[in-house]
């Protein structure tokens, strides 16, 4: 059987964190590459270039594959995504969903290399720079 494809198009684009003072993810670039949803993550305070080797530093341009998710087993249009993978030295689970034109992101991180670092979860809300989308 062919898996039912979920169209990731509603998720695509640039998403900017409403909270200009918060630490954490500042920008999410959601692109479609060969049918796959890819997220480019920029965190606040990020240095000029990617710093993947830093153990506890911010990361610019980390790229994570994401699974577009529909709102039911029979639907074909994405309303959410699940992304799992590394953000620098941390393992991350990102649960994002569209909510009246906003993207809400639940960010879960674990730093397996540093037991002193607590596992963190925070929520952030993002808008499209080009304006509200009524989806």
């Amino acid at each position: 059987m062919t898996p039912r494809t979920v169209d990731p198009a509603p998720l695509a684009g640039s998403w900017i964190n409403f909270d200009t003072t918060a630490t954490g993810i500042r920008l999410v670039g959601a692109g479609i590459d060969g049918g796959r949803l890819m997220l480019r993550i920029t965190e606040r305070g990020a240095p000029e270039t990617a710093q993947e080797a830093l153990t506890d530093g911010p990361v610019t341009g980390a790229v994570l594959p994401a699974v577009p998710l529909a709102d039911s087993i029979d639907a074909t249009t994405a309303v959410a995504f699940l992304a799992e993978g590394p953000l620098g030295s941390r393992r991350a689970i990102l649960c994002g969903y569209l909510n009246r034109g906003l993207l809400t992101l639940d960010v879960h991180t674990v730093d397996p290399g540093d037991a002193r670092m607590p596992n963190l979860m925070y929520r952030a809300h993002f808008y499209r720079p080009e304006g509200a989308d009524p989806r």
């Binding site: 059987m1 898996p3 039911s72 649960c95 969903y97 596992n119």
Partner: protein, 138 residues
């Protein structure tokens, strides 16, 4: 992978200094939509070793009615390392993988359930659902 630890609720064991307090997450949580629920019908969150275990119960499709018990990862909020407010748990049903992420807010548990198929004719899908404590509606 689904595991079935033998330890369940019991007296709170002393926590090592770095382990956050998970007590706000513990208990039996009931989906507020029992008629046509999004996500599991019930979540049972218990202590497991130094962390958490979650057992989920659904409606029987596409997951089984009893999802089994798995270890969960507890998370704290930034700036509050002593208290957990969130967890994630991953279920592997073979051709279906389901990730449950939840957080506690003002007495309720808010959970997102992401279900990803490795084949078949179903769409990968997502649900957001709300839970109250079972004892909260006695």
């Amino acid at each position: 992978m689904t595991t079935r630890p033998t330890s369940h609720d019991g007296p709170a064991a002393p926590r090592p200094p770095a382990a956050p307090d998970v007590s706000v997450l513990l208990g039996d949580w009931v989906n507020t939509e029992q008629g046509s629920p999004q996500g599991p019908l019930r979540l049972s969150v218990t202590r497991h070793d130094q962390g958490l275990a979650v057992r989920a119960f659904g409606t029987g499709g596409p997951q089984p009615r009893d999802w089994g018990q798995v270890s969960a990862v507890a998370y704290t909020a930034p700036g509050t390392p002593s208290a957990a407010w969130s967890f994630s748990a991953t279920y592997d049903f073979g051709s279906l993988r389901t990730v449950v992420c939840a957080y506690h807010k003002t007495g309720i548990l808010v959970a997102t359930t992401s279900s990803v198929f490795s084949g078949g004719e179903h769409a990968d899908h997502w649900a957001r659902s709300f839970y109250h404590r079972a004892e909260g509606r006695a």
